[in-house]
Each structure stands twice: as C-alpha cells, then as structure tokens.
C-alpha cells in the first residue's frame, strides 16, 4: 500500500518531467501563435483538448507549462534548501544564541506572507518567472531550516557524534561527515513536499499576474485566461486546473512515500 503511494507519486512526477522534456522538441501546435479563426474549440481532433480564447491549442500550452512548473520548483526549492539547510544545521549544532537568532528570524520570514513578498518583488523588478522563484524560495527557507535543525539536534545527541568529538573531529567535520548524511533523507522529503507547495504557489502567482507574463504559457495564467470564458467554455479551466492538481498530488505522494520508505519505524511489517 505504502509502496503503491510511492510509485503513484513517482509516476505522476515522471509524467510532468517527460511532458516538459518532450515540449522542448515537439508540441502538436504552436503554443504561442494566435489563430483567430479557431477560437474556443471544444475537445476533438486535431485539437485534443480544444483551443483557448486566442485559438491556441490547449494541449500544447499545457505541455509548455510543465517546463515552468519544473523550473520554478527546482530553482525555488534549491534556493530554499541551499540557504535553509546550512542555517538549520548551524542553529542545531551551536544551540544558544545562534540557534535563537536563526530560528526567530526564520519565524519572522515564515510569518511574512509570501504573496506580499511576491507583489513587492514584482512591483520593483516587474513580474517574471525569476521574481516568483525568489519569492517562493525565500518563503520556503524557514521550513528547510526547521527540518534541518530538528534532524541536526537528533544527530548531535547520538553517541557517534560524541565518539567523533572524542577523536578530535572538528565541528565542520561533524557537520559534513555525520550530520549532513544523516539528515539528507528528511531534507529530501521536505524538498518533495516543498516542490508541491512551490507548484501551487507558482500557479497562484501567475494566476494573479505576479509571475511569468504572457505569452509564455503557464498553468496559472492559462487558468486566468480561461476565467473569462467560464460560462461559454468551462472545460478550458478544467485542463490547467487538473494539471496543477495532479502535479501537486504527485509530489505530495512522492514526499509521503519517501518519508515512509526512509523511516524504518513506519515501514510495514511484511
């Protein structure tokens, strides 16, 4: 059962990745060029999912949208992990005022609405994929810092760290050889769950026009374009919505599956 969850997650994630890769070489139709004569076609042939208000093939736009999803996910989760994990380890290894300062600043960032940050960045630099990635990434730092800190505290309490100290291993050596390899699994789980959150956040931001601008298709701005035709062509909103839901579900399942797989205490007795 748990295994099935992991594989379902992997399958959905793989689908997104494959779609994004294929879109680099081939899409059924041009995902950007406006074709006035073919507006708002329903699902059929050759436009499998129909066309949008500009007469562009929806399936092609969805495929290209998968690229943005992956780019935003990888960069923002990467940013959050690269900044958050070392900070969490620093807090966990040192304790005392370092811990206090890092975690309280983390609390402030956590409490600061990511949307506000996105609006701020978009108004200063102009809305783009980059501002969305930075906003989502910065907002995700505290989650990574917390996970890393909790894992670090657990590792630091173990006897093998005491043995390493008795052997004169430096703090840096302990961080690199003992803490990091042992917290890597929980960080991996956080990355997967964080990826799902990033997809949702990116969709929300581009729906609001605070991320990737037109004409580049993203699932979020497709949803926004579909909104005005909601009563004429309701299926148009369904497709990007479905894509977002499945991608988020996929990364969440993957994260949960990984967590169960990596934690032997939760492993099912065969």
């Amino acid at each position: 059962m748990k295994r099935a969850q992991l594989f379902a997650g992997l399958a959905l994630v793989a689908l997104v990745v494959v779609t994004a890769v294929v879109s680099l070489f081939w899409t059924p139709f041009d995902p950007i060029r406006v074709v006035p004569g073919q507006r708002l076609l329903g699902p059929g042939w050759p436009h499998l999912l129909g066309t949008d208000g500009f007469g562009i093939d929806i399936a092609s736009r969805l495929m290209v949208g998968a690229r943005t999803v992956l780019t935003v996910g990888i960069i923002s989760v990467g940013l959050a992990a690269v900044v958050g994990v070392p900070l969490g380890m620093l807090a966990g290894q040192n304790g005392g005022w370092v811990d206090e300062v890092v975690m309280r600043v983390g609390d402030v960032v956590y409490a600061f609405p990511a949307l506000l940050l996105a609006i701020l960045l978009a108004s200063v630099f102009g809305a783009s994929t980059v501002t969305a990635m930075v906003a989502i990434g910065v907002a995700s730092i505290p989650a990574f810092a917390r996970v890393a800190r909790a894992g670090t505290l657990q590792v630091m309490a173990s006897d093998f760290v005491l043995a390493a100290r008795a052997s004169g291993t430096s703090r840096w050596g302990i961080a690199r050889r003992h803490v990091l390899p042992n917290i890597a699994p929980v960080v991996g789980v956080q990355a997967s769950v964080g990826f799902a959150l990033a997809i949702l956040a990116e969709a929300a931001l581009s729906y609001l026009g605070l991320a990737t601008p037109r004409p580049t298709p993203t699932w979020g701005n497709m949803l926004r374009d579909a909104q005005q035709f909601l009563f004429v062509a309701p299926l148009q909103a369904l497709w990007p919505g479905l894509a977002i839901a499945l991608a988020v579900l996929g990364f969440n399942l993957l994260g949960d599956g990984l967590r169960d797989y990596l934690d032997p205490r939760l492993r099912e007795v065969p």
């Binding site: 043995a163 052997s167 004169g168 430096s170």
Partner: protein
Amino acid sequence: MGERDGAEIFRAENLTRRYRDGGRDVLALDGIDIRLERGQRLGIVGESGSGKSTLVRLLAGLDRPTSGRVWFDGTEITDLPEKRLGFLRASVQMVFQDPRSSLNPRMRVGEIITEPLRSRLVRRQLADGVDHARRLAEVLAAVDLPPDAGTRYPHEFSGGQRQRIAIARALAPHPEVLIADEPVSALDVSVRAQVLNLLTDLVAARGLTLVVVSHDLLVVRHLCDQLAVMRSGRIVERGETSEVYSHPQTDYTRTLLDSVPRIRTSGR
C-alpha cells in the same frame, strides 16, 4: 606494562556538575576527588543516575565541570579550549554502550575506524605519515574482525561485531587510556564474555590504562583492579577491587554486592 606505570595520569579535585533537566536542577556530580595512575584499571559502579557517565565524560574532556579542576598527564584540562586538547584526544579514547548508536550508520566501517586518525587535532599528535590502510588492517586484526570489514557498513554486522568495530576505532590512534561506558550492557549475553575477554587481552597486551563504567559488578570484577562506588554524585568507596569485595566499608556497597546473583554450588 609501560615503564611509566605508577605515574599519575588523571586527577580531579572537587568536581561538581550541575545541569538543568526540564526545569529541574540536577546535581550529577557533588564534589568528586579522584586520582588514577598509569596502568591502573578502574571500575566505576553505581546505580543509574549516580553520575558515573558524567564523571567519565568530564575526564575525557567531552563536558565541562560546573566547578572543580581536572588534570590529564600533569596538564590541567579544565578550561583548555578544544583546539588545545589534541594531546588528550589522541591519548584518551572512548567505547560507548550501544554500538547501534555509537557508529554512524552512513559511514563505512573503514571510515569509522580511521576517523580518529583523520582529525587535524589528533594528526598533529601522531608520528608523521600514519598509513591509514595499514593501521586499519592492524586494528581489525586486533579485534578479530575480517580484513574486508572496512568496506562494509555497520548494519551488516552483529551487535558483538559492532562493539568490536567501536573498540577498533578507539585503538586506532594508539591511545594510552581507554574509557568504556557500559561496554557490554547492550550486547546479547552470549557475546558479552567474548567482548570482555577481548578488552582484557587488549588492555594487557598494550598496557592501557582502563576506566570502565558499569552497573554490573561482575563486569567490573572481570576487568578491573581498582573500584570506585558512586552514589548520588559522590564516591562512597574506593580501593582495590579484591579488597572492596572482601571487606566492603559501607552499607551501600554491601547492598550492591548482595544484589549480584550467585550460583549456588553446594546442595541444600
């Protein structure tokens, strides 16, 4: 036995250690004075919570006393910063209770055992050019593990073998002092004797000074010629093991000794 036997190696004066445990103030050590000579084998016994482990951690420089002073080999280590503790780190090694927790599950056995040789602090104390591979092979042989053990991970070994790995790690930097905190209490009864015999042989062959913490008097009797009995952060009795056994001076020691199950050899 080493030529400097009889020289003082550890001395502690009026050690106290206080810590907070969930808002409760705990006095783990309450004015300990202790002296240990090179080549002695000291057993520290007492109930859990009597401060045994806290005491050896202070001796090993893994914790700092709240007050009092500690000397190792004539140098006071009480307030020495970590970077000047190299001589202590190279000379004093520890073996812990549970090898499942004392061996990093994500490191290969070879990396675990040579870790003491790789720290900069210890490297400076050792002779130039210690060949890690050769040292690894030596200590693996010394603890009766197969030569290819270094390439495997701890979980591939049994409990007794894992404790041998921990002992091999402790031997790697050629220490003078081995501190063993409950070295066999996490092991199956069937392998305890093997590990105890191994420790006895290694200590004798290398002329090590030994400190063993245990709640098990049989373990201490097997390994040690000196005995210290601890209770609520104080040493209540100290002397030759045989002497303490035959003439316990305090009621507490008598109670501890009586708690050891004996096998009746004569019929009713």
